[in-house]
Amino acid sequence: MVRMASSFPEEVLEHVFSFIQNDKDRNSISLVCKSWYEIERWCRRRIFVGNCYAVSPAMVVRRFPDVRSVELKGKPHFADFDLVPKGWGGYVSPWIDAMSTAYPWLEEIRLKRMVVSDEALELIAKSFKNFKVLVLFSCEGFSTDGLASIAANCRNLRELDLRESEVEDLSGHWLSHFPDTFTSLVSLNISCLRSEVSFSALERLVGRCPNLKKLRLNQAVPLESLADLLQRAPQLVELGTGAYSAELRPDVLSNLSGALTGCQQLKSLSGFWDVVPSYLPVLYPICSRLISLNLSDAVIQNPDLLKLVTQCQSLQRFWVLDCIEDTGLEALGEFCKDLQELRVFPSDPFGEEPNVSLTERGLVAVSQGCPKLQSVLYFCRQMSNAALVTIARNRPNMTRFRLCIIEPRAPDYLTQQPLDFGFGAIVEHCKDLRRLSLSGFLTDRVFEYIGTYAKKLEMLSVAFAGESDLGLHHVMSGCENLRKLEIRDCPFGDKALLANATKLETMRSLWMSSCSVSFGACKLLGQKMPRLNVEVIEERGPPDSRPDSYHVEKLYMYRTVAGPRNDMPGFVWTMDEDAAFSIS
């Protein structure tokens, strides 16, 4: 048998690889044999690093000499819930420093939950001549000055997306730094900016970029000005409005109406802060075309909301506040047969009593009516096992299911039983479930179900659940594809962790806060598992001034080939092999 390697020239193999861009496949290719590894690394153009501390910039740059697109993630997911103290880490600068010299042809940088400084933005602006895409998702640490550098220097910029980032608003004039000759913009998302941007600069920018397809404005852009912008960009596909309120004036109404109908390609809407319902009818003519509608910032009550939703019969993705209530969701199930993703957010999460009539019935109705529904994020105040079983049976094609019952440890409201059985049904029926968030009153039983059935599960979020280490053990020993596990306020301790220590190296990360893991166990894990960074977050003083038996406040463990990180703040302690030898 002639071996392929010997008769197949490298350039041809490289050409074959050029048709394979999926990260997982590229990783598989690189592990086939030495020659494929070498060929693959030279032609890899896109890198995804799910945990920026899992590998060092030097290693990446050394292995992949010619990368054009980089995606990095920094802080753990629970940072979104303020569980990660400020200053924890996730700094992008070492990466930008390394790439500024190694990848002069870099075109795309996508960051999530990272700390980005103005200096880093400046370095990006000056180092990459062909820079095209900058996405800063949930990032912080930079100001509008950094954005001005990007605007001024990136002549070929196509995408600038700041979604959900925290930006220090020093001046709204950063937009004017885009030179008059700059016309390549395709996507602009400034929805997170709190203060005004220079409107005239925005108008001119929108007007001279003929390929602008996505425009998400911030709240400060008044409704009266929206028509102006839309008239300059009738080719828009995605629009995020600014504030959706104005005095009811017929001229504004008709201008807006005309401008919207002029946007024949518009398929996605978002924004809608401070909605004045009388302006909703201007949307009706375009509703039937919409595939994505994000009303999570819009306080709209029924019947206005209902009227809007029932016209969006092509809807595939829908984000909304719980003001939609069960009735609205029932209508959704009736009219929006193409729905794939639903997210229902709480309008008053801290209120004692429910302010809207949204219960488990709404979700059941959608699961019944929408055959393509596969991704759910649902905040509610009551749930029952029966409802969960029905949902599971209705939608075995579910891939992401995140249920957030607002009150911790809330049982099945009908039977007062734990919700173990309901969630068990979800994992049993939904065989392709990749992501699951649990809530409500749950015993170790639910984890037994998860460990038994959730074989494709990649990410699990747990809060206020379980009774003993057995729960954690079931998950860690049973879920073969588990990559990310985040746990808070659960009575899980050392035993399950230590018994499943080797599992930790097969996962991206584990977060445990307010659980019962001892300092001694952390040290032991850090010592025994060299390819794991075991970090203890302890804001109450050094952990080694206490007995080994004390329970750590927060624990973040992640696999890495880069060793312990060198940018930890004072409240993060790393447990490494020397922990056992340290003289305390």
């Binding site: 390697a5 050394r62 420093d97 500024s100 302690w573 020397d578 030898f581």
Partner: protein
């Protein structure tokens, strides 16, 4: 009837033919319009005037055997006809491409040598689809490729293979023991001599270890730990932060010197022969300054424990070292050529693509 006779009876049958010869020596004639669809053949005919008769048959590249030539010509025969619709062509391609993987590889190779880009693309895409979604083992099986990456390489191929947890632990124990012995015999002048006299067996063992993780690793103390913990966010430039990173790794013993040596090797591709083994050994005997920074107190009980563990480790390591060394030696030799071969090509290609920008 001869060819000429045929031409008289049916003039339209008098087509032009191109003569092609494959590496097995066989020669055949192919309709000109079909053969000329291949850029390679086209070039031979137009630039070199070859192919007009049997004695001037065009010698096809080695990767084109008769079976492959037949397939390529089938492809050309169909596609060179001008009138066909895209749908027809696509349909033909889909059926054409259905063959076993081995033939597909051969065909890709043949098409590439004949510079027939559309066919290269077609076959490459088909191969890509075969590769997609498969595990490395499955891919290896399908293409009959060797499983020649070591376990360490599979994990993080650029990590030094001697970064074995047992070795690192052993090294730290040795470092501690050596230090306390030095303390005891402070009055002796030459460090290296002293080490050799006292720890001959230990050092012999260490010198087997690829990359010599000898003295360079300072035992982590509470002082160093604090230094590392309190290190603030550094927004330094590239070289500085790299150095900082390396320093950090040295001082906590996680990434021994040879890892940095590897770094050096990568940045100096001209360092041809220097194997990691040699570089490593040099490091063992280089004097280390950091030792003095470290806290000194080691209580006797701990020292006893260390002594015992050191012996124990030495014994255990000794027993697996012969096999390990074989592995390391063969790894050290095999890897270089592959790297440089591709490096050579890769560098050239890289420069090329940069210029195109």
């Amino acid at each position: 009837m001869s060819e000429v006779d045929m031409a008289v009876i049916k003039p339209e049958m008098m087509k032009s033919y191109v003569w092609l010869q494959t590496t097995d020596g066989s020669i055949q004639q192919v309709e000109q319009e079909v053969a000329m669809f291949c850029p390679f053949i086209c070039h031979e005919v137009l630039q070199k005037g070859m192919g007009s008769s049997k004695s001037y048959a065009i010698c096809l590249p080695q990767r084109v055997n008769p079976a492959m030539l037949s397939l390529v010509l089938d492809y050309c025969r169909f596609h060179q006809v001008p009138g066909r619709s895209n749908k027809e062509r696509k349909s033909f391609d889909e059926k054409f491409i259905r063959m076993d993987t081995k033939r597909l590889c051969e065909l890709t190779s043949a098409a590439d040598s004949l510079q027939l880009k559309p066919l290269v693309d077609l076959t490459s895409r088909a191969l890509a689809r075969i590769i997609e979604g498969k595990t490395p083992e499955e891919i290896r099986e399908i293409f009959h490729l060797p499983d020649d990456l070591t376990e360490e390489e599979k994990l993080e191929p650029l990590k030094n293979t001697t970064d074995d947890p047992r070795i690192r632990l052993l090294n730290r124990l040795y470092a501690k023991k050596r230090k306390e012995l030095r303390e005891r015999e402070k009055l002796k002048i030459v460090e290296a001599e002293e080490e050799r006299v006292d720890d001959r067996s230990v050092d012999e063992l260490l010198s087997f270890i690829n990359g010599g993780n000898g003295d360079s690793k300072v035992l982590k103390t509470s002082k160093n730990k604090k230094k590392r913990r309190r290190r603030k966010d550094q927004q330094k430039n590239a070289s500085h932060s790299e150095v900082a990173e390396t320093d950090e790794r040295e001082s906590n013993g996680l990434h021994p010197m040879c890892h940095d040596t590897e770094l050096d090797d990568e940045f100096r591709p001209s360092s041809s022969g220097a194997s990691k083994l040699q570089d490593g050994e040099d490091d063992i005997f280089a004097p280390k300054v950091e030792f003095d920074d470290v806290d000194d107190e080691i209580d006797p009980a701990l020292k006893e424990k260390i002594d015992r563990e050191v012996e124990d480790f030495a014994r255990r390591l000794n027993s697996v070292w012969p096999e390990r060394m074989q592995e390391l030696l063969s790894f050290g030799q095999e890897r270089r050529p592959v790297h440089f071969a591709v490096n050579g090509n890769g560098t050239l290609r890289r420069c090329g693509s940069a210029e195109q920008k």
